[in-house]
């Protein structure tokens, strides 16, 4: 029994993959149906202009959804992402405007801030065995406070060359959008093809079994929160670039949109099951929904009620789908 890989063929079935594929098709179907519906309801919806607005909103949500997918897969949750986004953006603006460090050092500092916030949440929750729900709730307050004190509670204008991240590159596509898509693809590969990703799925499925298989489960968990922090900071970069300013109120409530997108994509809150690509579909669905509702002139209360209904329906449908797959 030498641990080497000899070539050997047993009949394979690709059922798990089939399951994934049907999920993607389902999400795609929902997306198309929503576009069609809004297209009928509003003649402006199916225009290039509205799509580029959507494409502009997506990047921050998309990269954060990648991180949140990882967090949910290990059975955690991170409520601090919106605040960490604001804090990272604030640090960047302070570095660029007040300390006059220049754009790139400012960006590096922002990313470092995100990583540190994540590391704190992860390390505390893992080493003291406190649910990440609670630690990240604390981080939500702390990072928001940090954002306020860094900017003196005012919107800090950066202006100038930071907007290049968001300026259209080819056609109407911005570098931010391309970067976000690249991160989604990388995230998907990381989860499905690497030892790290395998460890995350295992930890979310049965952490004790992983430990007893000789795997140290703490480091990957902390790394996941650090990644989440990093991706929130990248989200901050996108937002700051779009507004050419750092707003200490940025990202308020954003954790809920991110979690909603990931959950719509079918990632389980119980851990162990999820897909980065499906989360991206979830992001698209949320973005189309938001801008579509705005286009048809829905009032704020109506928007929120409908968004709520969509989230719950998506999750119920997904439960139904996987339960049926189980019983077959």
């Amino acid at each position: 029994m030498v641990p080497s890989a000899t070539s050997h063929s047993t009949p394979l079935t690709s059922r798990p993959r089939m399951g994934q594929l049907t999920r993607y098709f389902g999400l795609l179907g929902v997306l198309v149906a929503m576009c069609a519906l809004f297209g009928v309801l509003s003649e402006h919806f199916l225009t290039m202009a509205s799509f580029s607005t959507i494409a502009n909103q997506i990047p921050a949500l998309a990269v954060m959804a990648v991180g949140m997918t990882f967090v949910l897969i290990i059975g955690g949750i991170d409520l601090s992402v919106g605040s960490v986004l604001a804090f990272s953006g604030a640090v960047m603006s302070v570095a660029i405007v007040q300390w006059e460090l220049g754009l790139f050092p400012g960006i590096i500092l922002a990313l470092a801030t995100g990583i540190l916030c994540g590391a704190f949440t992860g390390a505390i929750s893992v080493s003291f065995k406190i649910p990440s729900f609670i630690v990240s709730l604390g981080m939500l307050e702390m990072a928001r406070g940090g954002a306020y004190s860094a900017t003196g509670s005012r919107t800090e204008y950066i202006g100038g060359n930071i907007s290049m991240i968001n300026d259209p590159l080819i056609g109407k596509i911005s570098p931010a959008f391309l970067l976000a898509v690249a991160i989604v693809v990388l995230g998907h590969i990381l989860l499905n093809r690497t030892v790290f990703g395998r460890h995350l799925i295992g930890i979310g499925t049965n952490e004790e079994a992983m430990r007893l298989a000789g795997i140290n489960t703490h480091p990957p968990k902390i790394v996941v929160f650090m990644l989440m922090g990093l991706l929130s900071a990248i989200g901050a970069l996108f937002q700051v670039a779009r507004m050419e300013a750092a707003d200490p109120n940025a990202g308020a409530g954003m954790e809920l949109s991110v979690i909603a997108a990931v959950v719509i994509g079918g990632t389980s809150l119980m851990g162990g099951r999820g897909s980065v690509l499906a989360s991206f579909f979830g992001v698209l669905i949320i973005a189309v929904l938001e801008s579509g509702l705005a286009q048809i002139g829905a009032s704020e209360p109506t928007k929120r009620i409908i968004t709520g209904i969509v989230i719950i329906t998506a999750v119920v449908l997904d439960m139904y789908r996987s339960r049926r797959a189980n019983r077959e």
Partner: protein, 507 residues
């Protein structure tokens, strides 16, 4: 047979198909006041059949009649309402709830809307006494019990309430003789009360001893139903497997070297007290003892899953104090846990994922998993251990209990450690495969690997081991060399510590 037995439940043409059929055309009758022994290889369909009867699973085809009426339970509750109860093969207790709460989960006594703990515990105690758990506090969370004790709680739960048909799916797989005797006493009592029982086990001598009739499944079909008096154990095996099974084990050609693992005065709480022994290179050392005697705890200390209070361990002459299982594995120690569901397997994930888990480095480069290498590794081990499955990508939770156990074994065979701690390695594995696994273990020891085997089945240890150490109430009370042991002496030793503690407590 003096009187014509009264039929309670009748199955007609029962079938179940997932991707392929796993149960076909089963006609079977359950009689009142009778124990039906159900045997079959791993994956033959025993659990599937009992889950259909117990309302946990819907049959794809066929009908059932309960006392002449149509019977088609939509769920377990509906079946239990008619008095059809079952003890599942895999434990299904809520580990954070107490023994008493688990026992009466469906009908917790309430007072003014609040849980009435006193009444609950009063009701639980006699029930616990029936299965020999009277020494325990009914308020203890089930998660703190050993898996054997959890099994007894599970059995006690099956005894509650009106019960007309009780299915026991491998209830004894983790029980030693003492607990098994208690179980048998309960079964006989129920039979005398007219309850119909189904007893599933891979310990065929138990089936032979207990059953009035024996039914045998092979590849999802019922191949034999006969009075137990007409069948010997060999007949059962032949009907199960369809051929003769070798039951010889070749332990020759091994050379046992110097000590590789030396344990001195190891202690942890009350579970492990002052244990010293040594394991020699290439040796198979057995650990016998009653359920809860501290064997699993001891192995967990050696594996770094728990930490010792005091004592010393030498691995190849050097002090060894693993702070985590990871360190133990890196030092060349593997442990196969007894609780495969909670502590072994990633149930929803693929067989290949589970098999390579402890040795991902060998199927990856720079953190990148080579999926085709992984699948071929899984394929090789599936063949070697004869895991019945559709392929390496099938989810482990879809496998039968015995086949799940083989996946756990495969993981550690693939890791190729120098010292293997095997806690109930053949739990739930059928008789044919069992000898194949003994053969594998013997081959490992022939290659110089050192093995510690815990088993609740004394015959297994006596067949396989060079020496058998006996633990009792946390202490290592005796060690027997091959040839110098006999069953009675081992049993006496296994009881000795418990007698002492009770007399101390009384004094």
């Amino acid at each position: 047979m003096t009187v014509q037995p009264h039929s309670l439940l009748r199955l007609r043409g029962i079938g179940k198909t997932y991707v392929a059929p796993v149960l076909q055309d089963v006609d079977l009758e359950f009689h009142e006041g009778e124990v039906l022994g159900l045997a079959g290889e791993n994956g033959a369909g025993k659990s599937t059949l009992s889950r259909i009867v117990g309302g946990l699973l819907a049959a794809t085809s066929g009908t059932m009649e309960f006392l002449g009426d149509g019977y088609k339970p939509a769920n377990r509750r509906e079946a239990e309402h008619l008095g059809v109860r079952m003890v599942l093969q895999e434990l299904s207790l809520v580990s954070t709830l107490s023994i008493a709460e688990n026992l009466f989960l469906d009908a917790l006594p309430r007072r003014f809307g609040l849980l009435d703990r006193q009444t609950l515990h009063e009701r639980a105690r006699p029930l616990m006494a029936r299965v020999g758990l009277d020494g325990l506090d009914p308020g203890v969370p089930v998660g703190q019990l050993g898996i054997g004790q959890q099994q007894m709680v599970e059995i006690a739960r099956g005894l509650i309430g009106q019960c007309r048909l009780l299915i026991l799916d491998e209830p004894s797989a983790m029980l030693t003789d003492r607990e098994t005797e208690l179980l048998f006493a309960q079964i006989n009592q129920l039979r005398d009360q007219g309850v119909s029982l189904v007893y599933i086990s891979h310990r065929l001598d138990e089936i032979k001893r207990l059953a009035d009739r024996i039914a045998i499944l092979r590849d999802g079909r019922l191949v034999e139903v006969r009075a137990a008096s007409e069948m010997q154990v060999d007949d059962i095996v032949r009907a199960m497997v369809g051929r003769e099974v070798g039951n010889a084990l070749d332990l020759a050609d091994r050379s046992i070297g110097g000590p590789i693992l030396e344990v001195r005065n190891l202690s942890r709480g009350h579970a492990v007290r002052d244990v010293s022994f040594s394991l020699r290179q290439g040796e198979i050392l057995g650990f016998a003892g009653l359920v809860g005697s501290g064997r699993t705890e001891l192995m967990r200390l050696l594996f770094g899953a728990d930490h010792r209070d005091s004592g010393e361990v030498l691995l190849e002459g050097l002090p060894f104090n693993p702070r985590s299982p990871r360190q133990a594995v890196q030092a060349g120690i593997a442990m196969i846990t007894e609780d495969r569901k909670e502590q072994g397997l990633l149930l929803p994930l693929a067989i290949s994922t589970n098999v390579t888990l402890a040795n991902l480095a060998s199927v990856s480069t720079a953190g990148w998993i080579d999926q085709s290498a992984e699948v071929s590794v899984a394929g090789r081990l599936i063949d070697e251990l004869k895991v019945r499955c559709r392929g390496g990508r099938q989810a482990v939770k879809e496998l039968s209990g015995g086949n799940q156990q083989k996946v756990v074994l495969a993981r550690w065979l693939y890791r190729d450690c120098e010292v293997l701690l095997l806690d109930e390695p053949t739990r739930g594995i059928d008789i044919g495969a069992r000898y194949e696994i003994y053969g594998l273990l013997a081959a490992l020891s022939r290659r110089g690997k050192s093995l510690i085997v815990i088993s609740s089945d004394l015959r297994e240890l006596m067949l396989l081991c060079d020496r058998i150490s006996v633990m009792s109430a946390g202490r290592l009370v005796a060690t027997f060399e091959r040839g110098a042991w006999d069953q009675d002496a081992i049993l006496t030793a296994a009881f000795s510590g418990h007698l002492q503690t009770t007399s101390q407590e009384l004094a």
